[in-house]
Structure formats: C-alpha cells, structure tokens
Symmetry: C2
Subunit: 506 residues, 2 copies
C-alpha cells in the first residue's frame, strides 16, 4: 500500500467512526430530552452496541498499518499541513486507544458504571463513606491507565507525568508544568480581590434577577440573543434538559439545551449564551473536513473558551447590557421598569464565595477549579489517600474561599466527574476562561460594535482564528497563532479585576 492510497482510506475510516459516534450523540441527546422513562434500559443496550462498534473501528489494526505508511511518507513533510495534522492526531488517538490493555478498559467500564450509581446514592445521603471504596478503585485504575499511556506500561511513573497522561485525553498536549504557573498566578490575583469584594460596602441588588420571568418569554429572548450572536437555528435547536449541554451531531445539526427557572433569570439566559458559544464553535468548524481531526474541535479548553467568551466576556459586559437591557425590559413588560442597565449589569456580575462550583460566579469559579486541580494531582500522584479527601477538600475551600462545607454533598461529592474517571477534565474549564480572555484582549476592540448589538466581526475573528483550524494546531497553537503571544492568565485577570474593581469600588 502506498501513502497516496493509504491516506484517503484513513479519511474514510475516520469519517465512518465519526458518523457512528454521531449516531450515539443523537441517541444521547434524545435520552436527555424526550426519551420516556421506560426506555432507559434499552437505550443502554443501543449505546453499548454503538460504543463496541466505535471501539472496534478506533483500534482496527488495518488503521494502524495505513497510519504507519503515511507517517513514513512525504505526505507529512509540512507539519502544519492538514494531512500532517490529521496524521498527528490520528496517531495520538490510535495510541491512546490501543495502548491500554483490554482488561483495564473493561475493568474501568465496570468500576465506573457501579461508581456512578454509588455516587448518586452517596450524594443523596451526603455520605462519602458510601462512595469511598469506589473512588479508591477508580484512582488506582486511573493511575494504572496513566502509567500505561505515559510509559508503555512498565511500572508507575512520577506524579506529574501520570497526570499529564490523563489531562491529555481532554487537552491534547496539555501539561501539568504549563498549568501550575497559570493556576498560581490566577490564585494570587483572585484570592485578594474576592476578599476585598467581601469587605466592600457596595453590593449589587441580586433580587432583580429573582423576579417573575415567564418561561416561554425566557426561551424566546435567549434564542433571540443566540441568533444575534450568529447561532444558526436552521442548523440547530434549543430544547429542555435538567443538565444543559451542547451536542453537535455533524454539519448542519447542532443541539443546545437549557433549563428554566421562572424566578431566576440567570439559569436559562447565561446557560443558553454558554451553550450557544459551544454551538457557534461547532457551526464554524470546516464542514468539508468533518470526520477528520482538522474538522473537529481543538480541545475541551478551546471549546470552553468559546462558551465562556459569549457567556461572560460578551454576556456579562457593560456594552452588551447597554444594548440589550432596554430590549429585556420590553420582553418582560412591567417587570424591570424600576431597574437601570447599570444596576442590572452589577447584579449579573455579583461575586460571592460559595460551596458549589456550578453555581459560582466568574471570579470564584476558577478557585473551585484550582482546588480540584490540586486535589487531583495529589490523588493521582499518590500523595493524598482517598480516605483523606473530604478533609483536604474542606481545608482547601477554607484557604481559597474562606468557607468550609458542612456536608460531603456540598463538598467533595458535588461533581460527577470523578465517578466516571474524568481526572484531568476540570482544568479545561479554567483553560477555557484564560483562552477566551486572551482572544478578547488580542482581537480588534469590539466594544463599540457590541454596544450597537453587532457581533458579526467578533464572530468573524473567532471563525478565522480559532474555528476554521479545527484541531490543526494543538490548543496552545491557535491561541499563539491568533494572538502572537503564548497563553497566560494576564488577560483574564486584568479584564476581570478591572470590571469588578469598577463595580465594587475595590
């Protein structure tokens, strides 16, 4: 087989895998939106079969042989070419999929399935002891997985290298060495300003967010803003779920979901802006490269950067509300006549240390992530025993945010991630915030356009500098190319402390 024959065959294989995965995505979306309760068990059978077929395709030895042929050829000479990038990412995925012994894959699947059920019960009863034996098994298996991935399976490696191997699943090429200084500088900036805000005399009136907002008007209004951002509703839709998400099936079909609280504006609105940000990214990926890495999202961090960009950097900005607030008043007649755009803007930027990550504000959110990053490093590095997790968790919350959880449910049992073995996932949330601010700081100043409700140029910049590249450059890559500077926490800290300093007078 020659490389010019092998490469198109790889594209065909990869597309088939992507289409098969997208079938599972449709089933997953339906499961969360419309599936009747009684369909759960059979849906498990369907998704189980698709996962089996996907795994067989992803580890097909014929794929590995073709890959080796192309890797050894002239086709990959230019490392920034589409072909070279695809081959690089295929190798990455193929090695990850084939390096793990089948026994380990099966054991992880079995253990995490049981762990997720146990986690639901343990969280409901707020009893870490019920989850502890499951988490102990998971940590041991993830250490084994990380070792197999990072060293070819010959014994355990040092903590950071192990964590890198897990992080790499969500943030290809990301390293602990890069993350440590980012979190350190973030923490150094955020802890004092959050403290100062707590002591400030000026406070927002958050009660305006908790007036009566009829659900059908909320949907109409949020869809209107998402459409104004550029989300194409002829190639997507918005449905209701208990946990909001964005699921892109393939070119021309991207589903957003949200949830509604008729007495809390933020729940649906910022949720939709967030998911629409993910959706805009998916709608901006090159459709003709669908199924190959260059047609896929870059990393979870870059994906999250797009959601945070629209949710926070646009959606919580003053120029945005200067434009949108009068329209909001019209959309909910009589509800907000006594409120000004300034008061509203302050309310949606309220900062207050809290125990629950998913309810946290823009500033404290990253401290929640920093805590999890440090705890994950310690667990995977073998420095922290699972038995000591609740205490370590509480101590970190005390030192970072000045508050201690009273129960496990509002402490180390609050997130689902560890129960499915998702170690290395949390940092991508903060990476998203940093990438987003970095992009915002380096694009032509969009303030005036936002004030006029015009988002085309902003989206155009993101399309040209981020979306269109897919996974052609690793996550640091598009950021460096787009901004000509490496990622730091500076842009994020500067824009956030600037905004909050002005609002709170600190």
């Amino acid at each position: 087989m020659t490389a010019p024959d092998a490469y198109p065959a790889l594209v065909t294989d990869a597309k088939e895998l992507a289409v098969l995965q997208s079938c599972a995505a449709v089933l997953g979306w339906d499961q969360q939106t419309y599936m009747p309760k009684g369909g759960g068990a059979f849906r498990g059978d369907q998704l189980g079969l698709l996962a089996k077929l996907c795994h067989a395709k992803a580890t097909d030895p014929a794929f590995g042989e073709r890959l080796a042929v192309v890797e050894a050829s002239d086709l990959v000479r230019d490392p920034e070419s589409v072909i070279a990038a695809n081959v690089r990412e295929w190798r990455h995925g193929y090695d990850r999929a084939t390096k793990l012994p089948a026994r380990l894959v099966e054991e992880l699947a079995r253990v995490t399935t049981a762990a997720q059920e146990a986690w639901v019960v343990a969280k409901g009863k707020s009893d870490f002891a019920l989850f502890r034996p499951h988490l102990e098994k998971i940590v041991a298996l993830k250490r084994e997985e990380a070792s197999a991935l990072s060293s070819g399976g010959t014994g355990l490696r040092a903590g950071d290298a192990l964590y890198d191997a897990l992080l790499d699943e969500y943030e290809p090429g990301g390293t602990t060495a890069e993350l440590r200084p980012l979190f350190a500088s973030l923490t150094a900036e955020l802890v004092p300003i959050i403290q100062a805000i707590g002591e400030a005399g000026k406070k927002p009136d958050e009660s305006v967010l908790r007036r009566e907002f009829p659900v059908d008007r909320q949907k109409w209004f949020a869809e209107g803003v998402a459409a104004a951002f550029g989300f194409d509703f002829t190639a997507g839709r918005l449905d209701t779920t208990s946990h909001p998400f964005c699921s892109a099936f393939g070119p021309g079909d991207c589903r957003l979901t949200t949830r509604y609280n008729p007495r809390f504006f933020n729940e649906c609105f910022f949720g939709v802006l967030h998911e629409a940000g993910h959706g805009l990214y998916e709608q901006g990926l090159p459709a003709d490269l669908f199924g190959t890495p260059c047609g896929a999202y870059c990393s979870l961090g870059v994906h999250e950067s797009q959601s945070r960009f629209w949710e926070n950097l646009i959606g919580r900005s003053r120029p945005f509300w200067e434009h949108v607030f009068p329209r909001l008043q019209q959309a909910f007649p009589g509800t907000l006549t006594d409120v000004t755009a300034d008061r509203w803007h302050f309310a949606v930027n309220a900062v207050k240390p809290s125990l629950i990550r998913v309810e946290a504000d823009e500033a404290t959110y990253n401290l929640h992530v920093a805590i999890r990053f440090e705890l994950e490093l310690a667990l995977i590095g073998g420095e922290l025993a699972v038995a000591d997790l609740p205490g370590a968790w509480a101590d970190k919350y005390e030192s970072f945010l000045g508050i201690r959880p009273a129960t496990d449910a509002e402490g180390c049992l609050q997130d689902i991630h560890w129960s499915f073995g998702g170690f290395g996932y949390f940092p991508t949330y903060t990476l998203g915030n940093l990438h987003a601010a970095h992009y915002f700081a380096h694009m032509p100043d969009p303030t005036d356009a936002i004030r006029r409700g015009e988002f085309r140029d902003v989206l155009g910049w993101l399309r040209a500098n981020v979306h269109t590249h897919g996974r052609r450059f690793r996550s640091g890559g598009p950021t460096r190319r787009a901004t000509r500077t490496p990622l730091t926490a500076e842009a994020f800290s500067k824009s956030l402390t600037g905004k909050l300093g002005e609002l709170y007078g600190v």
Copy 2:
C-alpha cells in the same frame, strides 16, 4: 459447531442487528420530529452508514452457516416451538437478503432514490410524464427482484408468483391466491352499499367535526383516550409530524406521532387512535424475546389490524361514543353543547366516495386498496404498461367508486409507495381491516365494557391471542389460532354493513 452452540450465537447476532436497526429508528424519528432543516444531508450519511452495517450483518455468511447447523438439528423438531419459529423466520430473512445480486440491490437503491425526488416534483406539478421513466425502471427492477426471489434467478416467472415474492416482504407467507377471493368478496359487498349510501336520504352533519378544537386540548384528549386503551406513556410518547407514524425502538420505548388541524377533529383524534393501536401491539410483544422473530410483529397486515381495531372497531363504534362523547363535550366547553352522541357518531362514520386514499372513510378505503392491488398485479405481471397507468387508474376509480380523477396528482401520483419500490405493500392495509374485524367477531363480546369505558379485557384478549406470539405463527396463523376459523372478509363486511345500514337506513 453444534446446534446448541449455534442457536445462542444466532440469537446474539439477531439481537445485534435489531439493536442497530433500532438506532436507525431513533434517527428516523428525530428526522421527522425535531431535526433542524440543515441536518438533512448529514442525517442521510448517518442512516446510510447504519443501513450498510445492518446489511452486512443480515447477510453475514457466518450467520448462514449457524442457521444451517440448527436447521439440521433436533432443536427445530417441534415446528411451533420458539426455536423452530425463529429459525424459520431467520431463514426467510436471510434468503431474501442473500438471494438478490448486489448489483440489483444497488441499482434499486439508486433508482428509487432518484424516483422519490422525481415523484415529489411530478406530484407537485401533477405531471405523470415526469415520473413515468422512473416508474418504468422500478417496475422492471422489481420484476427482476421478484424473479430472483421466487425462482433462484433463472428467468421470469408467471405474474402471481412474481407478485407473491414481493408481497412476501411485507406479509410473510401471504399469497395472491389468498388475496384475490378476499378482495373479490369485499368489492362485491362494498360497491352496492356505497352506492346505496350515495342515494340515501339520510346524511350525517359533518360540520360538527369542523368546529373550533384548540390543538392543546386535542392533544390532551387524544392522549387520555390512548392511555385508557392501555397505551403506556411511561414507555412512549406523542409528538407532532407532518405524516403520522408509530415507531417502536425497543422494549420500553415506543413513539407515536400525529398532526393537528384546529378546525377538523378527525385528523388528530383518529390518527392517534390508529397509531396507539400500533403502539399497543409493540408494547405487547414479548420483551424477553426482543431481537428475535418471536419478539417481533407478525406482519404488516397484523400490525395494521391492531391500528384499525382501535381506530375503527372501537373508536368509531356507538358504545365508545356513548361513553366518550360527554367527556368530549367537557373537554371543549361550549363547542358541542347542541350536538348529541348519536349525531356525533353518525358524523365520524360518514361515507363518501373520494379520490384520495388517506382521506377515505372506513368503507371506501378498501376499494382504494383493491384498485391498487389490481394495478400492481397487472404491472408486475407485465399485463399493464406504465404508460397506460393513468388511464387504467381512472377507469378503475370510475368502475369501483363512480368518480374519475381530473389530474394525475389526485390520481396515480398520490401515493409515495411505488416511488420507493413498495409493490405488495398496499394489500396489507386491507388485510389489517379484515384481521381486525375477524378478531372482534371472535372475542368475547366487549360491547358493555366499551360502553363503560373499560378496555382492559379487550386489550387482554389481543395481548394473549395476537401480541404475545410475535412472529411465531405466520399472519394467517395467529388469526386461525385465536378465532379457530381462517380469515375471510365476512366479519368485516358484516360489521361494517350492519353499522352503516343502521346509520344511513340502507
């Protein structure tokens, strides 16, 4: 390989195929209900890949080898056992799937894809000439297919044998020889009574059906009746589509769809009763046998019998409306206060010759089917040229129903079936009506229970005598077992002419 090893392997293979087909069913349902317009092309890619994987499984030589081993063993000694029935149906499906040359399968797929597009255009312009070349190709290919299926591929066989081979796809074991006398006796009964009704002085006031029925109340009311019949909405749901259907994904998940016309009661209501009838059948199949023939519906004719049973024999009966009409009046306050249950019952049983099959009433419907059956026999038998179809169609309508279509759109272009090659499908609609009436006539008289709004015993009888058997007995089989008499048109003719005779005084 021994038979005791081969049989469980066949079950596993068959279940995998069924689960994979059910994934396609979910995607098909989503396509009709929620998919955004832009997702159409990619949905085609997804369904195309699943079809390819299904075809590969259905024609896997390893399956054929296992099948041969079990067929030659003692496991199939009792022809009415589950194992023997499964093996019989697997052989039927495997032979159908493997007898056709790949070239023919591909050509049919290509030709019918183009034909369906051409049919939409031709119907829109009411111009048969645009569809004619496509239909000519399809008829030639279907004759070739029928020949390959019925004789192993050695030249064309006689008309009836060819048609049997096509019918067999939808009604396994059904034959033209059985259908001819059924249609002949039906036509002999129906033509004069429809004529007499046309000349009768008594007419229903159909305008009561065309009052204002708000869509949300229609949905609520129809769902209530479906639930009262026994449809389990914790294992199913009702959504909106332009063409109503029932799609059962698997145990615990059965989706119904309907459409709404706020100025016509029948559209949603009888549509939901019809689809709920299909759904009750699917919910009554033995879940533990899912994926094998004994866990699947018997035939399209038997499936249709279940929908017609609830739609017509229950839903258009006098005792049903004696119970339901006061509730209908309450559900639409003020709308029907001047109407009686008797007037309403007459209105929902209005009979009038019309040109469009899907809008036809209970009596004329089967003449629409009889016309198509005769035309299909002539086309497949080579006695009617496609070019002569519009004239032959109009002549049949004149002789059966006393009316002639003025255009092709309301003539031979009205149905989609032939454009996808669905020759042999139409007769199953009438078979459904006949089976349904045959069951009704042979079950313990449910009249009093229906009058009290109690459907449990009716459903229980259908569950025990039809649903629970799946495909264990061929379509004539469950009917004969359940009623101890072979299927005739008598029960249908008798009950329908009795009802209409009373209403119209003919």
